[in-house]
């Protein structure tokens, strides 16, 4: 009985400590998406200044595709951009762009300068579609299946390694199903 008095606090400490240690391994910016397995919210965005076609939900249906939230102001998007360019050159998967809260003309200038990996780009200056998508920052990428349902969300830039290890197999699997 006496021993329990000494062991018990240590046990409690171990349990609480284990919870905290687990918490430290998790990325707090990675907020689980509410959209997983739900249809992409309906939207119909105008084209960004300097481009002709906008982006609507209808455009994205029919094929497994990526919807990438980006902005010319977003530093990590610069990191991600070359990877998207590679994917688009290789024809790996259709990529649709959501130009989030950008100055008019800034999105186009950015794409002119670094290349345009997107099949279509929509202009979300008010940020309302981004809120419907539950976007918390840029870049964010949604994997959408053939029926237009969101199946996966990437928070932060897609790296080459992330593509090879995670996204490519996932897209393969979605195509087969």
């Amino acid at each position: 009985m006496r021993r329990i008095v000494f062991i018990f606090p240590i046990l409690v400490f171990a349990v609480v400590g284990a919870f905290f240690a687990y918490g430290l391994t998790r990325d707090p910016s990675n907020i689980p998406s509410q959209l997983i397995d739900r249809p992409l919210p309906e939207f119909d965005l105008p084209a960004i200044q300097g481009m002709e076609k906008g982006l609507s939900t209808e455009d994205i249906k029919g094929e497994v595709a990526l919807v990438n939230v980006f902005g010319s102001w977003c530093v990590s998007c610069h990191v991600e951009h070359p990877v998207l360019m590679e994917l688009s050159k290789a024809g790996a998967v259709p990529i649709y762009g959501l130009n989030w809260k950008d100055e008019p003309g800034a999105g186009k200038a950015w794409l002119d300068r670094y290349g345009n990996p997107y099949d279509l780009v929509g202009d979300d200056q008010a940020g309302r579609v981004a809120i419907d998508l539950g976007v918390t920052g840029a870049p964010e990428t949604f994997v959408v299946d053939r029926e237009g349902r969101v199946r996966f969300k990437v928070t932060g830039p897609i790296t080459e390694q992330y593509w090879t290890n995670t996204l490519a197999p996932l897209i393969e699997e979605l195509r087969r199903s």
Partner: protein, 152 residues
């Protein structure tokens, strides 16, 4: 007196509001409701601030959204539900009491009870131990006397 003001400035902190004048609703009653909601919604970019306090562009968008919904006649719950549907419970600074948060809500009370129970039994146990200490056996008594004598 000056010291008083200095101390007051140090210890009485007023939460800063980030809402800009152009966002505010004209109707003070609706604006008060909007501000109350803002304070309960987490800024998903900065995470430890409410959208009332954050200068992040996304927080501003959410403040505008809150005011838009209120102007359209949404109740407070409807506004919250609208945002939770998009960002999840995470966006609430005060998590709701439900299955997966039961531990979170119950733990402090449970810890307090356990501590109190532990303390109670510990104290009672030590009292009992004193009360229950048996008189020394004859051998022990002899030992004690011998040791005391040796030590002078």
């Amino acid at each position: 007196m000056r010291l008083f003001f200095l101390l007051a400035a140090l210890f009485v902190s007023v939460s800063a509001f980030a809402a800009e004048p152009d966002e505010l609703l004209d109707d003070p009653a609706l604006e008060a409701r909007a501000q109350d909601l803002d304070e309960h919604l987490r800024c998903v970019v900065c995470q430890s601030q409410s959208i009332a306090e954050s200068n992040a562009p996304l927080a501003k968008d959410l403040r505008i959204l809150v005011r838009e919904r209120i102007s359209q006649g949404d109740s407070d719950e409807e506004v919250i539900d609208y945002i939770v549907e998009r960002y999840g419970d995470y966006v609430l600074l005060k998590p709701p009491v439900q299955g997966n948060t039961l531990f979170l809500w119950a733990f402090p009370a449970a810890a307090l009870l356990l501590g109190a129970a532990g303390g109670f039994f510990f104290l009672r146990g030590s009292k009992k131990a004193i009360a229950a200490s048996a008189p020394l056996s004859a051998d022990d008594e002899d030992d004690v006397n011998r040791i005391l004598k040796e030590r002078g």
